[in-house]
Point group: C2
Chain length 135, copies 2
DNA sequence: CCTAATAAGATATAAATTGTCTTTTTAGGG
DNA sequence: CCCTAAAAAGACAATTTATATCTTATTAGG
């Protein structure tokens, strides 16, 4: 339970790297991937998702690359994780409570809700600015 | 991220069922599995694990079956989940910090520690007695 | 129009999940 | 003693998810 996927880990590395750089410049995917030690083709997929959601902006063609879509202090770790993995759901019954309807009431359900809340609270309390390491 | 496996869900159903019954009696695996709607062979594997860890006691042969290994108020949900899935590890770097040693210090690491602590805290605060629904 | 770069989609491989099946061991009862 | 009822243990199988890679298309600049 609870294990982050590689994809999310890679995603965080990549976007935190951007957050630690001057935000108005464009960075090559290949350079980012090399800097954070992630397979470039995999990071490309991740950043494509991010781009659709506005977390990063992409520019094609010569001189293209990626930059952060918003200021680092306005992007939370929760947003990043959920952008990659979808909503944080400790158990399927949290997403679709009808799954829980064995025997009328499920006593465990409220516990998963609390787990979800606590995890979201922690992740929502950290921004990319907090995570970015300026060099 | 964070999704409980079926195995854990089944495990919880099974052991909570036991916790809701008179604790000094023995229950057939096949009956438990039918009552909580879990494949019997799968639940068997889970209860074998539980048995090794003392969460349940097993009895073989005629008249055999399973009962809780300890009183319901002394078994936490955390124990049950970790008995099935192993320790709660939001990211591999929490288990093996050496993984985290890209670029000296990893700023995200402490966040995963906090996530781990919060999840454990919630789950440790709930016992099987709390979850058991007496009929 | 040529080149540099991302976008999109198809495909491939490996690992984990979710089981099942068979054989063995243990225990009780006639 | 057998015979039967039950769990224990281990091997095996199917499905799904994770982890990529490859190819082709699109976009932009010079």
């Amino acid at each position: 339970m609870m294990e982050l996927t590689r994809k999310s880990d890679y995603a965080i590395r990549g976007i935190v790297y951007l957050a630690g750089k001057p935000v108005d410049k464009v960075y090559l995917l290949s350079d980012i991937a090399a800097a954070v030690d992630v397979p470039p083709t995999f990071l490309a997929k991740i950043f494509q998702q991010f781009s659709k959601m506005g977390l990063v902006k992409s520019f094609r063609g010569t001189g293209g690359g990626f930059m952060l879509g918003r200021l680092p202090e306005t992007i939370t770790l929760l947003e990043v994780v959920e952008a990659v993995e979808g909503p944080i759901i400790p158990n399927r019954c949290v997403a679709t409570p009808s799954d829980c309807d064995r025997s009328g009431i499920c006593t465990v359900h409220p516990v998963w809700i609390r787990v979800q809340e606590e995890v979201r609270r922690v992740l929502a309390g950290v921004t990319l600015k907090d995570l970015a390491t300026k060099e």
